[in-house]
């Protein structure tokens, strides 16, 4: 699995091709500022995709991630600016809530889709109660942190690489990471080997909560104000990023670096469509089509290569 394989590189080839297309359409994009503009929107999505990847590693899907990110955005714009301590307390509480969701899904054997869909309404409802209409102000230190402009290499590029490295380290380079992935693909084997599946589930959901918070913070740096509906599109986009990055729905099979590349691909596809003057009305449909196409190609590849080599 870990050997360098042509197919594992697909999201990265795709990313390079898209960058070339963007530069071909808009030559001025090939510059420090150009890359800054192109990829700054990919950072919050890469955090969200990594969060989704942790849930998918557990064999689940998170349909509440979008409104969770929106709630973080609202907290950041309303609470963090005035009361740092309370805001931090709320962030921690939200991560604990994710851990509890994971334990609930595990202990009661509930489908994660329905639980997280229910949770999504709770996040949205709380966000609307705090902030019925867009307002608030994101602290400047948050904005400055995510708009960091180091010399030569644009900030977003560094952030994306860091997110990929962290995800890769946690799941692919640590011993417990293998246990975490294993719990998603074969919980029975993991628990027979003496590991607690409840614990792996709680940790994976907790990690998703942490990255969901980071996604909301970095999104706030872009929006600079609060809106409960910010991040609503992240449910599908984060799943798309994970899938384009090489992840599977069956649990355990994930590619952390690929998910980050997938996030950049998803954002760049939007940019290309905009450059081509495709109406924003068509963009969401195009995203759906791309997801279907990715999975269809994978299905064909699997069919051609004969047998599924899972497990």
């Amino acid at each position: 699995m870990s050997k360098i394989n042509f197919w594992n590189g697909v999201p990265f080839y795709f990313l390079v091709i898209l960058l070339l297309v963007v530069i071909r359409l808009e030559p001025s994009a090939f510059s420090y500022n150009g890359f800054n503009l192109l990829l700054s929107a990919a950072v919050p999505l890469a955090f969200a995709a990594t969060a989704q990847m942790f849930i998918m590693a557990a064999g689940d899907i998170d349909l509440g991630l979008g409104t969770f990110v929106g709630l973080v955005n609202v907290i950041t714009a309303i609470v963090l600016i005035h009361h740092i301590f309370y805001a931090l307390l709320i962030y921690v509480g939200m991560i604990v809530a994710y851990v509890l969701l994971g334990l609930l899904v595990h202990n009661r054997q509930l489908p994660s889709i329905v639980v997280t869909l229910g949770a999504s309404f709770v996040w949205l409802g709380i966000a609307i109660m705090i902030l019925p209409s867009p307002a608030g102000e994101v602290p400047t230190y948050i904005i400055n942190f995510f708009n960091w402009s180091p010399p030569i290499i644009p900030g977003p590029v560094i952030y994306l690489i860091l997110i990929g490295l962290i995800g890769n380290f946690v799941l692919m380079r640590t011993r417990y990471g293998a246990v975490l992935r294993g719990s998603g693909s074969n919980a029975e084997a993991i628990s027979r080997a003496g590991w607690s599946v409840a614990k792996t589930k709680a940790i994976l959901y907790g990690l998703a909560g942490v990255f969901g918070i980071l996604s909301g913070l970095s999104l706030s740096a872009i929006t600079t104000s609060g809106d409960a509906n910010n991040g609503a599109s992240y449910v599908l986009l984060s799943i798309m990023a994970v899938i384009i990055g090489g992840g599977e729905f069956s649990g355990g099979l994930v590619a952390p670096a690929g998910a980050v590349a997938g996030a950049a691909v998803v954002v760049l596809i939007g940019t290309v469509l905009t450059f081509l003057n495709v109406s924003s009305d068509y963009q969401i449909g195009a995203q759906g089509l791309i997801l279907i196409a990715t999975l269809a190609i994978r299905a064909v590849r699997r069919f051609v290569s004969g047998r599924v080599k899972v497990k």
Binding site: I113, A119, M129, D281
Partner: protein
């Protein structure tokens, strides 16, 4: 001493047993409580609240029946395309009818066509490409959303035909037409689920695909029908809701994605599939509709409504569980 405590235990376990076997009962009881609470806070409109809630709840009931067939088929079956199908169907039928009374039947046929096309698309992705149902129906939903956005710029502001609005919002005596229609459809689908071979078979494959296959059931074909039923109900409900509201709108499907799943769960059907009932869905749709009224009457705002709905579904799932009836 011991005899009295024994009898208490049996009484308690009897009540528990009733709730365990009559899985639709909590939704009915909950509806009554919220109904009385709403009327008490508002101080008026005891019967009016009930009849209008039953009428409005009918839309949720219909998409809930469709969702129920998909969920019952098991294997993680779920249809997230419901709200998008509703909206696209509302716009397509509006542009087909163009506000003319004589074209009401063409509108209905267009809605059914939308349902069949979307249902087949969902089934193709799930059964042929082997996409997980969530992702397949969500992707299809987003494609439909784009289609709706494009359509809405061309056919916005077309009112529904007069005769259709009158039918959908009319009354027979004190009872709204929609309430009567909903109950009739409910009885038909109760019979389909409990008495027809299809209804028994779909619950069978939901309980155990392998056992059902050994019994000679064709699970793939049964699942295809389930997704078709769901899309047909969603498309028909979108058509109907546009008639009820006087015309289509972009946000009309909004609450029906979680709503359609919530009523199935609250109604006592198993989210894992294999055990479902229609009356529970009806009561749950009524409950959620009354809940919205209650939130409005109590001036709690849209946020509180979302929180209550979300908490309710997670709570019922937690209490109700999925792996069930081992005894």
């Amino acid at each position: 001493m011991s005899t009295t405590s024994d009898s208490k235990v049996t009484l308690g376990s009897k009540i528990l047993n009733i709730f365990r076997t009559q899985r639709a009962l909590p939704a009915f009881v909950g509806s009554v409580i919220i109904w009385l609470l709403t009327a008490a806070i508002a101080g008026r409109g005891l019967t009016g609240t009930l009849t209008s809630s039953i009428a409005i709840g009918t839309f949720l009931f219909f998409v809930g029946i469709g969702q129920m067939f998909v969920i019952t088929s098991g294997n993680g079956g779920i249809d997230l395309s419901v709200p998008y199908v509703m909206t696209v169907s509302a716009y397509i039928t509006a542009s087909v009818m163009h506000g003319q009374n004589v074209k009401l039947i063409s509108g209905l046929l267009a809605a059914l066509a939308v349902g069949i096309v979307v249902g087949l698309l969902n089934v193709f992705l799930i059964e042929i490409i082997a996409m997980p149902p969530i992702i397949a129906t969500l992707s299809v939903g987003f494609i439909l959303q784009s289609a709706t956005l494009v359509l809405s710029t061309k056919s916005s502001g077309i009112p529904s035909p007069r005769i259709f609005i009158n039918l959908a919002t009319g009354n027979v005596g004190p009872i709204p037409n929609m309430a009567i229609f909903g109950i009739i459809v409910g009885i038909i689908f109760t019979l389909i689920l409990t008495r027809s071979s299809y209804g028994r078979a779909i619950q069978g494959i939901g309980q155990s695909r392998s056992a059902a296959r050994l019994a000679g059931l064709k699970s793939q074909r049964l699942t295809i029908y389930a997704y078709l039923i769901s899309s047909l109900f969603a498309a028909f409900t979108g058509f109907l809701l546009a008639g009820y509201a006087g015309g289509p709108s972009l946000t009309m499907g909004g609450n029906y994605q979680l709503g359609s799943i919530a009523v199935v769960v609250l109604g006592g059907s198993l989210i894992a599939g294999g055990l479902s009932n229609v009356p529970g869905i009806w009561a749950a749709a009524l409950l959620l509709t009354l809940l919205i009224t209650l939130v409005n009457v109590a001036h709690l705002g849209a946020g509180a409504q979302d929180v209550v709905q979300g908490v309710l579904i997670v709570l019922v799932l937690t209490v109700g569980g999925t792996k069930r009836q081992k005894d």
